[in-house]
Structure formats: C-alpha cells, structure tokens
C-alpha cells in the first residue's frame, strides 16, 4: 500500500492505492444496505470496486447470534482490481458476534471499528465470548476504535423524538457517515438515495439523513480519528459506468438478447437461492414484453420454457443445482426436440441442499452429463459480475443460432457480487437474427442448416408447417418417429456434431501473458478475478506463468488444445474437486493438476500466488 503523507487543516490525509472494508453486523442491522451505499458512493466517486456480500444461512437466526451475522465486503481502488480483496484492512463490527466471525479474516494490524454499546454481557455470551475482547487485550494486534454508536446515534436523533427502537434502526447510517468521513467520500449520493427511497416516509428520511451527517461530523470532530484516507479515482476505460451485481447483469443480458432478436423473453422459474433475484428483476420489466411465470416446481418451469420455445419465444429458465437436477429429464426433451432454451444455473454449495447461500462451481459436470442417453448441450459461463451481461446474451445467441438448449453457469459469488460495469452502447450490441420457417416449400422439421446443423424453427400458427415433435428418436429430415437402428446411430452422432460445431462460432481463447512458458493457469467462471490478479502479480515478478479463462465450456474454443500444449504444467484452480480439470484431461490427455477449494468462498489472490509459485 503506497501511502503518501499530505497536509490537511488539522487532520492528516493518507493516500491509499486501495482499501478493503468489511461491514458486519446482525441480519437486522442493515449491513447489506450500508455496504451497497458505500459501494455506490465509491463507484460514483470513480474508484474501481469489487464487492462480496456474505449472507447468513437462509434461516433467520436470533439477534446477536453467530449464525445471524451478515457481512458485506468492499474493495475500492485507484487502479483496476478484480476481486473484493483477500483480507479486510478495515472491519466495522456492529456487535460482538460480528467481531467474532470476521476477526480471523482481518489483515494483521488492521483497523477495527466497533459499536461498544453492543458489547453487553448478553451479546458477548451469545457470541461465545467469555471475556470482553475490547478489554482483555486479545485485540492488541489491531487498531481498535470502540465507539458508543448507539448512544451517539440516539443523541443525534433526539430532536425527532422517535421511539428508541426507531432511532436504533438508523445506527448503521451513523456508521456509514463515519466511514464516509474516514475515506473522504461525499454523503450526498446516500442522502439523495434516502430521499428517493423513503419519499412517502418523511420521518425516516429525516432520521436516516440526520444519522449519516451526524456520523460524518462526529468522525470529523472526535479525537478518535487522527487521520483520514483518500483513494483516488481509478483510471478506468472511458465510458458510462454503473455498479452492477451479476444477477442484475444476467437479467439485463437476457432482456438485451430478446431485444436484439426481436423476440419476447419468456422466463419460467421456481424460486431458489441464489437465483431468485433474476426472477424478481425480470418480473419488473414486463414493458419489454417479458413474461415471467413462477412455476409450481422446476420441472414445470422447464416444461413451460420448452413450450414457449416451441411457440417461438426466447425461452429461459433459471435455478440452482438442485433445480437443475429436477429439470434434467426435461432438458433431454429439449435436446431431442432441438429447441432453443437457455437454462441458467446460479450455482451454490452442494451436494444436495448443501450450503445454499454459499458459492461453488460444482455443477459443471452435471451440466455436461446430467441426463440419460447421449444428450449434448452447449455451456457458457461468465467470468465476472459485469461479464454476466455478455454471456447471458451469448447464451441466447448460441441457442437460437443452433436450435439447442444452452447452459448458463453463474454462481452465488458472481450473482451477488458487484463491480463497475461499462454500460454497452445499445447500437453496438451484436444482432441475433432469428428466422422462423414460413414457407411450406420443401419444409421438413428436421432438415438442417449446412453450417450449424440447426433445424428450422417452425412455430405454431404458421400455415402449412403443421408438424409434430417429441421425445422419441426422430427420423433424419422428416422428424417422424423412427426406431431404425442406423438412423438412431446417425442422429446421436449428428446431435453431438451440432454442438461440436458451436466451436466454429465462438472466439478462440486468449492467453493472458506469454503464449508459452512453464505454467498455464486455466480457470472458468467466477474465479477469473483472483486468478488473473495472482498471475499478473507473478508476471510482474517476471515469472513464466500465463493464464487463460474459459467462458465457453462446451464446446471448448478450437485453439484450446494448442494453447495447453505450449506449457510445461497446467494448473486448474476450481471451487470444486476438479471438474474442468477432468474434462481437460479426458479431452486433451494433458496432465493438468488441480488447486481445489470447496469452502463456499472465492479464492484469495494470495493462496493462488502461493500455489502457482509451488509449480514454478
């Protein structure tokens, strides 16, 4: 952390290249809100940012308890960053449980700001503290700033004479205000947001606004803070930006695809963490012709998507791993009927119900093989929250161009995490040209396009194209049911070949770093940021390591084999036990080694650096 000392009227300002802050408190303390406010303000201010919310387990836990702790981590920087940061430099802990849970992740010597009012015996007990950590010296290794947040906040709001409980609810805004001063950010964006959000509740607007400013002023005046910090704007590529989560970007990507294809989007889904937000988001945009159907279960959602695809819409279903398992029989039907359906899997910790609110990459092989029979589908996976937009768009581009189901593999980390997104210029978006069959002349439901092997999309309502499809094996061209042995063999290979040909219509993979060397790190999905940062830092040190990141998992980019062959060692870091590694080994007979972490958490840059160095 390059720090530059400068002079300020009475308090000094320290310049930081980047800082990682974690807000932590009780589920009820509004930490997600506080975090995203700080994020937005920093984004608007011009920092590069990356965030990692950490929700408690699905069930609400009792106030003050360990399982009830909710966290939100932000990494802000004046250069471009790709991860929420390995270790928080600053922790804002609203209660003992929050301190207990998050302390182990802290940078040694980091700043810890706690609400001392919450360190009551009861809360300490709930958090499993025998003695008060603020007093027993156990925090000696950190710069602890204990503040009676509740009281200060209550006093600040006296004038409004709210009920105690009401006032208490604002204390997160007080903390936010303090942090704004500490990191030298404007309070206005948040004040505006409060204004808008609570329009109809002037009481609340007043209270929250007051809390923010009070917190800011308190920090400014109190002796507790001797310095504040400044993180300059980052040199991002020119353009219009917004902060966006992966799930938002995913929803927008699908809507953009629908606009580009000029076909309405049809989303059938059954709620499930962490995919539900996509349903919530899409259901708000019906004026784009989007239809959303909350189905009775995942099978029904898949069935409805198949029906909508048959009827000519951009059919989409979204879920997480357990839901995919349920859909798998119906996905087979979509493969046999060769209909364009996108299946979005926002992966979470498995197996079974597993760790529903944690992230994982363990559904890749399920997407590849999780159906009866030889049942190939295309698979794409975004690399970062913002990248979700493009890959969601790609999913439909491929689905419609090849008349095939396509898996879109995101995960909880990507879906809930956020980063600045350079808003694309609409006119520059690729077109998706969907052509429906219209003329009965020589029409056959299973006649194929020579390049893509796609069959025609002939939708009900079109005169003269009446035909019947289904799950039984199809006769080549006519699409009639066929039990002919040779036809079956032919069709099985043809369906495989069709997916293989997708490789002719996707970009080759680009090597980050030299095109050959000692170690090639191969990643996919949400690990992009950590891997690239780790590799970059080693490259800076002149080490012979490069990396590639696969956003197309099936089929693989055409040049993948060649790229792999140019390195002595291939390392595949994954948040699973080695699923991509398995595919690479089988396909290319390359002795890829894995670095596998299955903790429901993303990789840290440091652990990757260490692992890679081990191979160099």
């Amino acid at each position: 952390m390059a720090t530059v000392e400068t002079e300020d009227k009475e308090k000094q300002v320290v310049e930081l290249e980047n800082v990682t802050i974690r807000f932590a408190g009780d589920s009820g303390d509004g930490m997600q809100l506080t975090g995203s406010q700080f994020t937005n303000t920093s984004a608007i201010f011009g920092n590069d940012i990356s965030t990692l919310p950490d929700f408690p387990a699905e069930i609400r836990a009792p106030a003050g308890s360990i399982p009830g702790v909710s966290g939100f981590q932000i990494n802000l920087s004046s250069r471009d960053i790709r991860t929420p940061g390995d270790e928080p430099n600053v922790l804002v802990a609203m209660n003992p449980a929050a301190l207990k849970v998050n302390l182990p992740d802290m940078e040694k010597g980091g700043i810890i700001i706690v609400n001392s009012d919450s360190f009551s015996d009861l809360n300490l007990k709930k958090a499993g503290y025998e003695r008060n950590p603020l007093e027993d010296g156990s925090l000696a290794g950190y710069r602890v700033i204990a503040i009676p947040l509740s009281d200060l906040n209550a006093n600040a709001l006296k004038s409004l004479n709210l009920a105690k409980k009401e006032a208490e609810r604002c204390k997160n805004f007080f903390a936010l205000g303090m942090m704004y001063w500490l990191y030298d950010r404007p309070v206005e964006p948040t004040l505006n947001w409060i204004q808008e959000k609570f329009q109809k509740k002037p009481q609340i607007v007043a209270a929250n606004s007051l809390a923010v400013t009070a917190g800011y002023n308190y920090a400014d005046t109190t002796e507790l803070f001797t310095t504040h910090y400044r993180v300059r704007k980052a040199a991002l590529a020119p353009g219009k930006y917004r902060n966006i989560t992966g799930n938002e970007a995913t929803a927008l990507g699908f809507i953009a695809a629908s606009q580009a294809a000029q076909r309405p989007l049809f989303y059938a889904s059954y709620p499930i963490t962490p995919a539900s937000d996509i349903l919530h988001e899409l259901s708000r945009h019906k004026n784009f012709g989007v239809k959303t159907l909350q189905a009775e279960d995942e099978i029904a959602a898949m069935g409805a998507a198949i029906g909508a695809a048959f009827a000519g819409q951009l059919a989409l279903t979204g879920t997480s791993g357990p839901g995919v398992a349920l859909k798998s029989e119906a996905i087979g039907l979509a493969v046999m009927t060769e209909l364009p359906v996108v299946i979005a899997n926002i992966q979470r910790g498995g197996p079974s119900t597993g760790l529903p609110t944690k992230t994982e990459q363990s559904d890749l092989l399920q997407a590849m093989f999780g159906r009866n029979g030889e049942c190939p589908v295309a698979i794409v996976a975004p690399a970062s929250p913002a990248d979700c937009f493009q890959m969601a768009f790609e999913a439909f581009r491929i689905a419609t161009q090849f008349m095939t189901p396509v898996f879109y593999l995101s995960d909880g980390y990507l879906g809930n995490g956020s980063e600045p997104w350079k808003i694309p210029v609409v006119d520059e978006l690729p077109r998706i040209d969907v052509k429906f069959a219209t003329s009965p002349e020589g029409f056959h439901p299973y006649l194929r396009d020579e390049a893509t092997l796609a069959r025609p999309w002939a939708v009900p309502g079109t005169p003269g194209l009446e035909h019947r499809i289904g799950g039984l094996e199809k006769q080549h061209i006519t699409g009639n049911v066929s039990y002919n042995p040779d036809n079956h063999d032919f069709m099985v290979r043809l369906r495989a070949e069709k997916i293989a040909r997708v490789a002719n219509f996707i970009p080759e993979v680009e090597v980050f770093g030299k095109p050959e060397g000692k170690v090639l790190v191969v990643g996919w999905g949400g690990t992009y940021g950590a891997i690239t940062s780790a590799v970059e830092s080693l490259q800076r040190k002149g080490r012979a390591v490069s990396s590639i990141h696969l956003r197309y998992l099936n089929p693989f980019p055409k040049n993948l084999g060649k790229v792999l062959s140019r390195f002595e060692k291939v390392l595949v870091p994954e948040l699973n036990l080695g699923q991509l590694r398995w595919l690479l080994r089988a396909r290319y007979l390359v002795d890829a080694v894995g670095f596998n972490k299955v903790k429901g958490l993303p990789f840290k840059i440091s652990e990757l650096v260490k692992e890679i160095e081990g191979l160099l």
Partner: protein, 347 residues
C-alpha cells in the same frame, strides 16, 4: 409482443376445413379395439367446426398409449415426457394466447406422475382443453394398476391386489375450482363429440374425463354401465337447466336429502319438480362435487358437463400485465434500462 402474428389472414380458410384436413399421415398404432380410436374419431369430427384455422391448433401429450394421440392429428403437436404435458401446454398458451392448445393425457400420466401439474394447470385456469383418457390402467407399460384403478386390483405389479384407494379426477379438478369439468365415455360417440365441442368452446381450463376401454390390459372396466342394455339405467347425462332424470323409461331421478343426493323413483307422489335441476353455471362447485362422487351401484354414473363457469384466464391476465406495463411505462427502452440507477462517466 405476443405471437398472434398475422397468421390468421394467410391462415387456412376456416370455413373450408373438413375432417380429412385434420387426419395426419401417420398410421395409428393402438391395439385393434382400443377405446382411443373412438376418442380420436370424435375429436377429428369436432375440430373442423370450431372455426379455428388448422395451424392454430396445438396438441400436447405426455407418455402413454393415449399420449400417442398428437401424431394422428394433422396440426401442430408435441409428444412430451411423462406427466409434463400440462407444463408444456402452459408455456405454449402463455407465450401465444392466440393458439388453441389441447392436452391429451392418461390416468397415469395426469394423476400419477403428473398430478401436481394437473392441479396447477387447473387452478391457474389457463385456457387449455385437457382430455384425460381414463382406462384405469397403465397401458403402454403393459398393465400395472393406475391411480384410478379400483382398490384391490390384481395387476402385474400387484399380484395380491392394489392397496391404494383410487383418485376421483373430477373431485380433484373441482377441489381446484376447475371452471369446466365434464365426463364422457368412448362408446357413447354422440355425447362424447358434444362434450369435446363444449370443452373446446369454453374459455379457461376445460377438463374432460373420458372412460376408455383398454381391451388388452383392462378389458370391460366400464362395461357394467356403458353397455347398451343398461346404459340408460346406470348412467345419468347431466344437462344444464334440465332436471336430473335417467333410466330407460326416464323414470328415475336425483333429489337432495339434506346434504345428500338420493335416487328417487318418479311416480306415486314424486314428480319432476321434486328433482334437482342441473346448474352447470353455479358459482359454488359443491353440488358438482357431490354429483362427481356418485358411482354405480348406489348411484347412476354421471356424465356430461358438471361445471362451466367463467373466470379470467391465466394467459389473459399475464398478457394484460404486459400491456398495462407498456401503457404505464411505455414500451421498454433498452438504453434507458441499461443505464438506470446511479451511473457515472469516465473520460
């Protein structure tokens, strides 16, 4: 942005449609004597008269002998997977409300593996015509008992008799407030054709149970009341607005004793005016529920239209929300959407 398109103009001239136009080139592959043939025949007879261009029909099915049906109708068709036809049909109808969507299903397909979708399609009141071919057996898998098989039925999978109590599909439909509920059987072709026509014309979910003889694995399952000689005495055809009379000599009827139905003999003191008059349009489905539970021998087996009421349909409500949003917010503008929320510019 729905798919109505302009197909209707260039659509097959409706008036000219004949039965032949709906016969597909696929040879029917049911066992000789199967009741499915009759249901197919009556459906083919009905379709031309509905005033709907051929290309707007979609027949969706699950898996089973009955589910082979779509192959034999020269319209759009989808032979789905076991039990899921209602979900596929829901997707089709919701995507394009302009289509006439039919589901053909079996007692196993609809009530065993497909029971949940059956229930939800009904409670959504989506405008689909759902025809259940009830042969009280699994035909395609060669003769296991089904959810409608009588208790104690000996089949390949139950050599000592089945031990689950049968489901009454009409009751389940009514419990889910189905807006159209009817019953017929394969051999009464006139009544069958009329029921199918009424189902087709009803807007909203139309559920029709058709007793269908599987002469291979469950032959004669219904003959105790379907056979000519005692059909009139053992069945009653419910007709809206008509008193509930039945019997060869039209001399028996149904009356309400308290909350119970009773069969009465007309004559000596009891006359038509004492009988229940069938009101298929009653908002309250309770009486229909009572009628649906009648069974031989205590009661005549009821057929005809039990219920036919109007309620906003799922696909219309969905379409309305889309149109309403467009009215209120204007047609979606992608540029605006992408740059909504707090944005900033980097130069």
């Amino acid at each position: 942005m729905s798919d109505n398109g302009d197909s209707s103009d260039k659509g097959t001239a409706v008036l000219e449609l004949k039965r032949e136009d709906f016969v597909s080139d696929q040879e029917t592959r049911w066992c000789p004597g199967c009741g499915d043939y009759s249901i197919l025949a009556q459906t083919l007879k009905t379709l031309p008269d509905l005033g709907i261009p051929r290309e707007k029909f979609v027949f969706v099915s699950g898996i089973g002998c009955s589910s082979r049906f779509p192959y034999y109708v020269n319209t759009y068709g989808f032979h789905g997977i076991h039990g899921r036809a209602p979900t596929i049909a829901t997707g089709i109808k919701a995507a394009n409300p302009d289509l006439s969507v039919w589901v053909v299903t079996g007692d196993g397909d609809a009530l065993s593996i497909g029971g949940n979708h059956f229930m939800h399609a009904i409670r959504r009141n989506i405008d689909i015509n759902l025809i259940l071919f009830n042969n009280r057996i699994y035909g395609l898998t060669k003769g296991q008992y089904s959810p409608t098989s009588e208790f104690g039925k000996k089949t390949k999978s139950t050599p000592y008799g089945s031990i689950d109590y049968p489901i009454n599909p009409l009751c389940v439909a009514l419990a889910n407030e189905a807006t159209f509920v009817a019953r017929s059987f394969d051999v009464d072709v006139k009544q069958l054709a009329s029921v199918i026509t009424q189902a087709a014309r009803h807007k909203g979910i139309s559920f029709v149970e058709v007793f269908q003889n599987c002469n291979i694995f469950n032959d004669g399952a219904f003959k105790h009341f379907t056979e000519r000689e005692f059909r009139e005495d053992r069945t009653i055809n419910l007709e809206h607005g008509k008193p509930m009379i039945f019997g060869k000599n039209r001399d028996k009827g149904l009356r309400l004793d308290g909350a119970q139905l009773a069969v009465v003999q007309l004559g000596n003191g009891i006359n038509e005016s004492d009988l229940l008059v069938h009101n298929a349009e009653a908002p309250d489905p309770c009486l229909a529920f009572m009628l649906a539970r009648m069974d031989f021998p205590d009661f005549p087996v009821p057929v005809g239209v039990f219920r036919s009421v109007i309620k906003a349909t799922y696909e219309d409500l969905m379409e309305e929300q889309v149109q309403e949003s467009i009215r209120r917010m204007g047609p979606g503008n992608l540029e605006t959407l992408l740059s909504s929320g707090d944005t900033w510019v980097v130069n």
